[in-house]
Amino acid sequence: MTFSVAAPPAVAVELFGVPRLLAAQRHVVVAGRTLGEVAGALAGACPALLGPVLDPGTGWLVDGYIFVAGERFSRDPGRVLGEGASVLLVSSVAGG
């Protein structure tokens, strides 16, 4: 018997503020079905985020950062993303 496992979908992550400056890019495309997987993939794609933005131990966001997915703000690593999702990574300290 053979199984075929679908590759995780590509997710376009747009970076704002400190994440953008650290990564020195505005967009990154990574693979992930959930926000948790996206965060993990981001760590590989942009190692400069490890520490200031992504926890090196868990691979998840440190306090102070949040994703926006489908117009919803979320710090839920289990949040499932749809096909062709676009995700924003931004400081959770809103406004000025």
Partner: protein
């Protein structure tokens, strides 16, 4: 009470009289200090119906128990007067050394009434008052005034000054000190109406705090946290970081709120500005965060460039709101607002209103070439100069968008983007419903600093479909938290450095004052302060119809969809009054005033 002197200095410029008056401990216990204290002094000294530009309008400067204690970011001074822009309470905060200088005079606050016969500098030296003629300072930018006075009087003096805008009565003129502004609601025009070009303050007596050792340890701990991820955005990029993100989610006010997206947002975004125009970074006195980013124009072709301090609010108001996408133009305009001494938000928003008038063919009573068009950066600069000098079209625009629209008519009030006469900040309320409520009911008008309700909208803490009472509760809590921080004179940029803000701030308060303070005490003070300010407004003629939003944001257009409508806004406002314990018409029942411990403080 430790951390306070328990008295304020009252100066009447007409009589040239000076008096020291007591501030009971109950006032500090109930209203904390800062904005709470300034509001209390305003309520006591401003008669109902006072002309905001008349001698009877008091101009209040207040410190707080935290000023001068070394608690990070706490060096802020509160300024209050009846606003010439709104006709209701005008309260603002400005950071830095002036607050410490005032506290060192042996007084917690300064109340200035009357009107000087000729342009004057008020000098307060350790509580002794003298006057200096100011004729030679007229026309100077606030920074030059401060340099002149400090060179003459001594470097120990700190100076609050107005620019040309304050001298000429621009209704949104600011008071400047140490490169910072008490920016909104026109306190600079009040100061100018008193013939006061500047106030120079020096002192040598700080009050003792109750537990110096305990406070030093707690302050060190907080300072450590202030350097962590909770403030990274402000430290590393500054508030300008908001712009590109706000554009992306469609809440960046653009072309006078005709859209939430700006095509040139990336060109003037905080990240781009930092990389291409950033020069250095500063902090206010006694601040371990240091969020103030400085920039320089880069189009001088070897000639002189302009240096500017820029916050998000300045950036949106002189940038996307006016359709200006050249960062050099925005930086020059920001620097010009500082030199003229005026609030960049109201200046930009009033110019944006005029731009739309031009677009719609509305006659502003000036030659068309004086009226700037959307996107014309150099024309914005010319308009700012005209406003400061009140020449040509500037005389109309110096009135602010509400009054200008009333003068011009022709339906132009439909796109005058203000609440109670105060122009909207850089958050499009169409998609930020809790903030929309906060802006509508705000005591000083449309202000993101007094109602930081945008924070729940831009978070995962509130369901996007939340009903009216949940939004009302969140808006009231955000308003009260702002009142607490503004009265402790702690910077709002520090708020996420606290794990439990009310509890930790209460612990600091106990160490400073020696008066055991709980989180609940502070929360009740926040509520009391909001009610105090609302009570002032009611006494000055506020009515239910003043709590509203510009009609533009209540109906959708193809370019600007909205989650708001008139019935929904009214429903949220009714829920907010309910949460506050107010009557259905928004007035404060006497029994409520007594229940929250306010009536005893204002009788």
């Amino acid at each position: 009470m430790h951390g306070t002197h328990g008295r304020f200095l009252r100066v009447d410029l007409t009589e040239r009289s000076v008096a020291a008056e007591a501030i009971p401990d109950t006032v500090f216990a109930g209203l904390i200090g800062g904005i709470g204290l300034a509001s209390w002094l305003l309520v006591r000294h401003c008669p109902p119906g006072a002309d905001p530009l008349g001698p009877e309008n008091p101009l209040v400067f207040a410190s707080s128990p935290f000023v001068g204690t070394g608690v990070t970011t706490a060096s802020k001074i509160a300024v209050a007067a009846k606003s010439p822009q709104t006709g209701v309470i005008g309260d603002s905060l400005s950071s830095s050394y002036l607050a410490i200088a005032l506290k060192r005079t042996g007084f917690d606050a300064l109340v200035v009434t009357g009107r000087a016969a000729t342009p004057t500098v008020l000098v307060v030296d350790d509580g002794r008052v003298s006057y200096r003629p100011a004729n030679d300072l007229l026309g100077l930018a606030p920074e030059r005034v401060a340099e002149t006075l400090r060179a003459e009087l001594g470097g120990g003096f700190r100076v609050a000054a107005i620019g040309v805008a304050g001298e000429r009565g621009v209704r949104y003129a600011a008071i400047a000190n140490d490169g910072r502004l008490a920016g909104r609601t026109g306190s600079g025009a009040v100061m100018g109406s008193k013939g006061l070009k500047a106030i120079a303050i020096r002192g040598s007596r700080l009050p003792a705090v109750a537990d110096p050792k305990g406070l030093a340890a707690a302050a060190r701990d907080l300072a450590g946290r202030s350097r962590g991820p909770a403030t990274a955005k402000y430290r590393e990029v500054g508030t300008a970081a908001n712009l590109a993100f706000f554009d992306r989610i469609g809440v960046l006010p653009t072309r006078n709120f005709q859209s939430g997206h700006f095509a040139q947002a990336e060109a003037i975004g905080g990240e781009t500005l930092l990389l291409e125009h950033g020069t250095d970074k500063h902090g206010c006195a006694a601040c371990t965060v240091g969020c103030e980013h400085h920039y320089r124009t880069r189009d001088g072709n070897g000639g002189p460039e302009t240096d500017a301090r820029l916050e998000y609010e300045t950036l949106f108001a002189l940038g996307s709101l006016c359709g200006v996408g050249d960062p050099n133009d925005v930086l020059r305009a920001a620097a010009r607002c500082d030199d003229l001494g005026m609030d960049a938000i109201s200046a930009g928003a009033t110019i944006a209103w005029a731009m739309e008038c031009r677009e719609r063919g509305v006659d502003l009573g000036s030659p068309m070439d004086e009226v700037p068009a959307f996107g014309d950066g150099p024309a914005v600069l010319r308009a700012l100069d005209a406003i400061g000098a009140r020449t040509g079209i500037g005389d109309l625009l110096a009135e602010g968008s509400r009054r200008a629209a009333e003068i011009v008519g022709q339906g132009s009030d439909a796109w005058a983007m203000h609440v109670k006469g105060l122009e909207l900040p850089g958050y499009d309320p169409r998609k930020l419903q809790t903030l929309a409520l906060g802006l509508a009911v705000g005591t000083r008008g449309a202000c993101h600093n007094r109602s930081s309700a945008y924070e729940v909208d831009l978070s995962d803490r509130l369901d996007p479909d939340a009903e009216a009472t949940m939004r009302a509760t969140a808006a009231a809590a955000a308003e009260d938290q702002a009142a607490i921080l503004d009265s402790l004179t702690l910077c709002k940029f520090l708020r996420h450095a606290f794990a439990d803000l009310p509890a930790e701030a209460a612990a600091l308060h106990s160490l400073v004052t020696g008066s055991p303070t709980t989180a609940d005490d502070l929360l009740r003070s926040g509520e009391r302060i909001t009610n105090l300010k609302k009570g002032f407004n009611i006494a000055q003629g506020w009515t239910r119809t003043d709590d509203t939003l510009p009609p533009r944001v209540l109906s959708a257009t193809p370019e600007a969809p909205t989650d708001l409508s008139r019935p929904w806004l009214d429903q949220m406002i009714a829920a907010y009054y309910g949460v506050r314990g107010w009557a259905a018409d928004g007035t404060i029942p006497l029994a409520h005033s007594a229940r929250i411990g306010l009536s005893g403080l204002v009788e």
